[in-house]
Amino acid sequence: MNEFIGIVGLSIGISLAATFFAATIGLPLGAALAIFAFRGRRAIVVLTNAFFGLPPVVVGLVLYLALSHSGPIGFLHLLFTPAAMIIAQTLLAAPIITALVHRASERAWARYGDELTNDGASRLQSMPQILAIIRAELLTAILAGFGRTVSEVGAVILVGGNIRGLTRTMTTTIALQTSQGDLQLALALGAVLVGISISISATVFALAGTAKSAGSDEI
């Protein structure tokens, strides 16, 4: 039972950390892509949308080669650690969050952009306001990122190694149980994974609802 709690805790911890870092990248980048006009913007937009479907196993493989002792950043000794898994999942979630934030910001900027910059405020200064306007979409973006991280197995099993008690998550445990022929146990874990995803989503929406009713959404 302790091991089970450890596995669930690690899964959620890693995914939350990765979602946090991905949001740290994706929120400002997504808004900036909508607000600022600069060279290469279109290319970045196309890329982030293309990376929506980035295959986790490819991200895992590239990161594996990079983090390997004989790879370019092997000296960091991150391979087969939770940190490597967080990096992998951040790479997977960041494009999703960026693309979703960009789309919402673009609409908001078209509508409120002039208004926000009217009184002499710079585009940079109006960025937080744009993000505030689209905060409902931000929630969806962040949850989509979290959903991507908590459910994937291809990348974390490569860079984490599925080490018992260290890098074994819910998804890698399901893969392992299946390989041992314990299909029922694997299925039960799968149900827990789905349940946890639903609860987290519900909790975040409830929190957002609380924030709204407290009146914090007025511009």
Binding site: G9, L10, I12, G13, I14, L16, A17, T19, F20, A23, S68, H69, S70, G71, G74, L79, F80, T81, P82, A83, I86, R135, L139, I142, G161, N162, I163, R164, G165, L166, T167, L176, T178, S179, Q180, G181, D182, L183, V204, L207, A208, A211
Partner: protein
């Protein structure tokens, strides 16, 4: 931004609370899937950790991949079972010492209906020839694991090359671990070569039964390989040596021999290892 703040706090909390990040006295063991999915390592490693204070982090990959992981410098020690690939690893100068720690045997399993009519014999090569002649479905690991290498050696003795087999419709290369191969064999009513350890602890056998066992060519030995300090200076070689020494010590050997799954012994300590000539089927040794 409340949600963000909560995410951040939670993430920091969980990552900091994870003791694994702070573990210093730990080594990475690259091993085969059979010693992991049979439950052997999960059973004996706590005994070693209790005695030595060293945590062994197992990355279970199949012998080919495990050797490669060590070549790249990503493991501290190896526990593998492909004598030929191991020899090559030693010849390349990656390993320093290689010691046999355990053995069991391979078996050919298949559907109880036995479409190729091979059940009950103990000649694995004749059995494979019959499977090929009757075109009964056969599942191959196809993952360069020790079991896959053993399977291809047997096919060679049966007059079949890997290239020729790849073209056959009845021969399915699934590119997966032992458990995946057994799952596939169970689902497709196919034959496959399995190590006995994974087979005994496997819980989705369906109609699969042992068709062939007790052939000297089916001997399966597990070796522990320590790395060469000249090529792998940054590996944790001292802790790795303590672990390797423990595996072959009376304590470690006793732990390996004592492990059972579903009421049956899975691995024999190497002290009892037979040469191929004096090989006695494992089921005779296990009472």
């Amino acid at each position: 931004m409340i949600a963000m703040r909560i995410l951040f706090t939670l993430a920091l909390f969980v990552v900091h609370a994870n003791p694994g990040l702070a573990a210093e006295k730990s080594i990475i063991l690259a091993s085969t899937t059979s010693v992991e999915s049979s439950g052997l390592l999960a059973n004996i490693l706590p005994q070693f950790t209790a005695k030595s204070g060293i945590t062994v982090n197992v990355v279970a990959q199949g012998t080919g991949k495990a050797l490669d992981t060590a070549r790249r410098g990503d493991a501290d020690i190896l526990l593998v079972h492909d004598p030929e690939a191991e020899q090559q690893f030693m010849d390349e100068g990656h390993g320093s010492t290689r010691r046999q720690v355990a053995w069991n045997d391979f078996i050919i399993v298949g559907p109880s209906a036995d479409p190729a009519h091979i059940s009950g014999g103990n000649d694995s090569v004749i059995a494979l020839k019959t499977i090929a002649a009757t075109q009964a479905p056969f599942i191959s690991r196809g993952d360069k694991s020790g079991t896959n290498a053993a399977e291809l050696r047997l096919w060679k003795s049966a007059g079949q090359t890997a290239e020729a087999l790849a073209k056959e419709k009845w021969y399915r290369d699934i590119g997966g671990g032992m458990g995946q191969a057994l799952n596939a064999a169970s689902a497709l009513n196919a034959y496959t070569l399995s190590d006995r350890g994974t087979w005994l602890s496997f819980n989705n056998k369906g109609s699969l039964v042992i068709a062939i066992e007790g052939d000297a060519r089916l001997l399966n030995r597990y070796d522990v390989i320590e790395l060469n300090p000249q090529k792998h200076a940054s590996a944790k070689l001292d802790a790795a040596k303590i672990f390797a020494d423990w595996l072959v010590s009376p304590d470690g050997q006793q732990a390996i021999g004592a492990y059972q799954a579903n009421g049956e012994k899975l691995f024999n300590p190497s002290a009892a290892a037979p040469s191929r000539r004096s090989y006695i089927p494992i089921r005779v040794i296990v009472e």
